[in-house]
């Protein structure tokens, strides 16, 4: 029983980590309709910045938590205003391809700046201890990740559902022409949403770096996992992304425990089955 409880905590922790990584992608897709294949690259850059900031002093982790997301957000601003805007009239496929090209570019830029060695980000002493739960010792940070994931989910839900900004964003999602006719600068809204998406990607990079580590082509692995979460949850639904993150976290953790060689296979198999049974994902709306 203790083992199952421990795996449960690990699964939920991993799931919420996936949520932290994926929510920016889900937000951008839901509102801009842009499937950002460079999301993994933004995540990677956030993680690498965290490494650079913390390499001399682990206490700098808190500074990294602020600097990295802001740096990635600025990068997103640059991408949105210089490149992405050029493709809005070309259709969704061009945007996917553009971000795919960006992922290639960032891959080499990152290996140019940070090399291609496997790196780790150390935690400050206050987070690196262990906590006993179900008679098992857990790294405290795993529990912290659960807290961060829950807070982030609650904050996103609150902003989207209960504030004026959230209302504008939701309205923009439904009808872009109508909302600009109501006197709202929709272009600015799109830019801001993309920046928030970048911020969240960078934040996810910092949070995930101590657990998942840094290695070449990490961004593609993360991106694929994030896409699976996005599809299972349903494109453009934060609640669905949340549910799917937890589901994938649990499935992957338990399958790694029970039948390790099948775990990746199971996750993709689950995605295929869900897509066939519920083509719009668990909680998604119809996407044309």
């Amino acid at each position: 029983m203790d083992i199952i409880g421990a795996q449960l905590v690990n699964g939920v922790s991993y799931g919420l980590l996936l949520f932290v990584i994926t929510c920016g992608l889900a937000l951008v897709f839901g509102i801009l309709g842009v499937l950002n294949l460079a999301h993994g690259s933004l995540y990677m850059i956030g993680a690498y910045i965290a490494y650079s900031v913390t390499v001399n002093s682990t206490e700098n982790f808190w500074i990294a938590l602020i600097i990295a997301p802001i740096a990635v957000a600025l990068l997103s601003l640059l991408i949105e205003t210089t490149l992405l805007r050029l493709t809005y009239h070309l259709g969704h496929l061009s945007q996917v391809l553009l971000t795919f090209g960006l992922a290639y570019v960032f891959h080499d830029l990152a290996s140019m700046v940070w090399g291609s060695n496997v790196l780790t980000v150390a935690l400050p002493p206050s987070l690196s201890g262990t906590t006993t739960l179900f008679n098992q010792n857990f790294p405290t940070y795993r529990l912290v990740v659960i807290g961060i994931g829950l807070v982030l989910a609650a904050a996103l839900w609150f902003i989207q559902e209960k504030t004026r900004w959230g209302a504008i964003i939701r309205a923009g999602l439904c009808d872009k022409e109508m909302i600009s006719a109501l006197g709202i600068n929709i272009k600015l809204v799109l830019t801001i949403v993309f920046i928030i998406g970048g911020f969240l990607a960078g934040f996810g990079g910092v949070i995930a770096a101590p657990i998942l580590g840094l290695y070449p082509s990490m961004e593609f692995q993360t991106l694929i996992l994030a896409l699976v979460v996005l599809v299972i949850g349903g494109l453009g639904s934060i609640a669905g992304t949340f549910a799917a993150s937890i589901l994938i976290g649990l499935v992957e953790t338990f399958s790694k425990y029970l039948m390790p060689e099948l775990s990746l296979f199971l996750v993709f198999g689950l995605m295929a089955v869900i897509l066939v049974v519920k083509p719009n994902g668990l909680l998604g709306k119809k996407v044309a």
């Binding site: 553009l98 090209g101 891959h107 593609f220 990746l264 295929a272 897509l275």
Partner: protein
């Protein structure tokens, strides 16, 4: 116009047929690689360019064909009569299974579902070490034979692959001009309309998916025969990405485009890799430029150049009657 085209094709075919006489071995091998990847890109183009289904998992079929060929060549016989049909059958089988799932969805979901399936096949190949050699890949695959001819000689291999390439190219050209191909183009342009006209669009898309998968498998099989080696990285999604890049840079929805794209990528990669290992950076930048500024690819650039020339002397513009018509009106 038609005669003009045949002369052009005859000329290109002659040039290709004679190239072993004036190309060095290195360049000949490069040309072989272009032809193989050209077949691969053409197969994806049937999906992306003509049917309008953007797949990010086409490397799955390439890999399946390649591994099937490699395993048969090692375990049974390196005879092409054995390897090629087995690759073809296995990739048809797998693409019909994957296709059944993928036909249920469209748009972004299709893109991601194909990606998921190709990753499943990748992890299968990666993990079944006994069958596929796992991370190490399959090496020491004997060079192909047919009848008494041993294709370890690159010139023979070149002619063999040129022949298959010509067959695939001609076959696909006929296919996309046939009523079947026109229905596919109709689906790309407006699927709802094709449905309301009574076409079973799912069946057409499914057939297109299987044909693309089968030809991808053929390309993979030839690749193994040419290289004598296959590794899981050839099934990874970056392979799916680069073949999609070839199709888009060359010009999706044209016959010449994917081949030109494959040629450009292979030649560029050979040149660039002798100077720097920042290959992904360079191809990424080129790809972005094409996506933003030349969405119709190399063929699109060529066409607009030809059109500009034609505009300056409209009297001789017989091949584009609609342009002349507009000028009169």
């Amino acid at each position: 116009m038609k005669g003009n085209h045949s002369i052009k094709f005859l000329f290109i075919f002659l040039l290709m047929a004679l190239s072993p006489f004036f190309l060095s071995l290195f360049h000949l091998n490069l040309l072989i690689e272009i032809l193989i990847l050209g077949i691969f890109a053409l197969s994806l183009n049937l999906l992306v360019g003509y049917t309008g289904l953007v797949s990010l998992g086409h490397a799955a079929f390439f890999g399946i064909g390649a591994y099937a060929s490699g395993i048969v060549a090692k375990e049974l016989s390196p005879n092409l009569i054995a390897t090629l049909p087995v690759s073809l059958l296995v990739s048809i089988l797998v693409s019909s299974i994957i296709g059944m799932f993928c036909m249920k969805v469209s748009g972004f979901y299709f893109l991601m579902l194909t990606l998921a399936f190709s990753q499943m096949i990748y992890s299968f190949i990666h993990q079944s070490t006994d069958l596929t050699g796992g991370t190490n890949g399959l090496s020491g695959i004997p060079s192909p034979q047919l009848g008494g001819v041993d294709f370890s000689n690159p010139v023979f291999l070149y002619y063999l692959i040129l022949l298959i390439f010509a067959a695939v190219f001609t076959g696909l050209s006929v296919l996309v001009r046939s009523p079947f191909g026109q229905v596919l183009i109709g689906i790309r342009e407006n699927e709802t309309r094709m449905k309301s006209m009574g076409y079973n669009t799912t069946l057409y898309k499914y057939s297109s998916f299987i044909i693309a998968g089968a030809l991808g498998g053929v390309a993979g099989s030839l690749y193994t025969n040419f290289n004598g080696f296959i590794s899981p990285s050839d099934v990874y999604w970056t392979m799916s990405g680069s073949v999609l890049i070839m199709v888009i840079i060359g010009g999706a929805g044209t016959m010449a485009g994917p081949v030109l794209g494959a040629g450009l990528i292979v030649i560029l990669e050979t040149i660039v890799s002798s100077y720097t290992n920042m290959w992904m950076l360079i191809i990424g930048v080129i790809f972005i430029l094409f996506v933003v500024f030349f969405p119709k690819g190399i063929v699109g650039i060529g066409n607009s150049l030809v059109n500009n020339l034609a505009k300056s002397k409209p009297l001789y513009n017989e091949s584009k009657p609609e342009a002349v018509y507009k000028k009169d009106a």
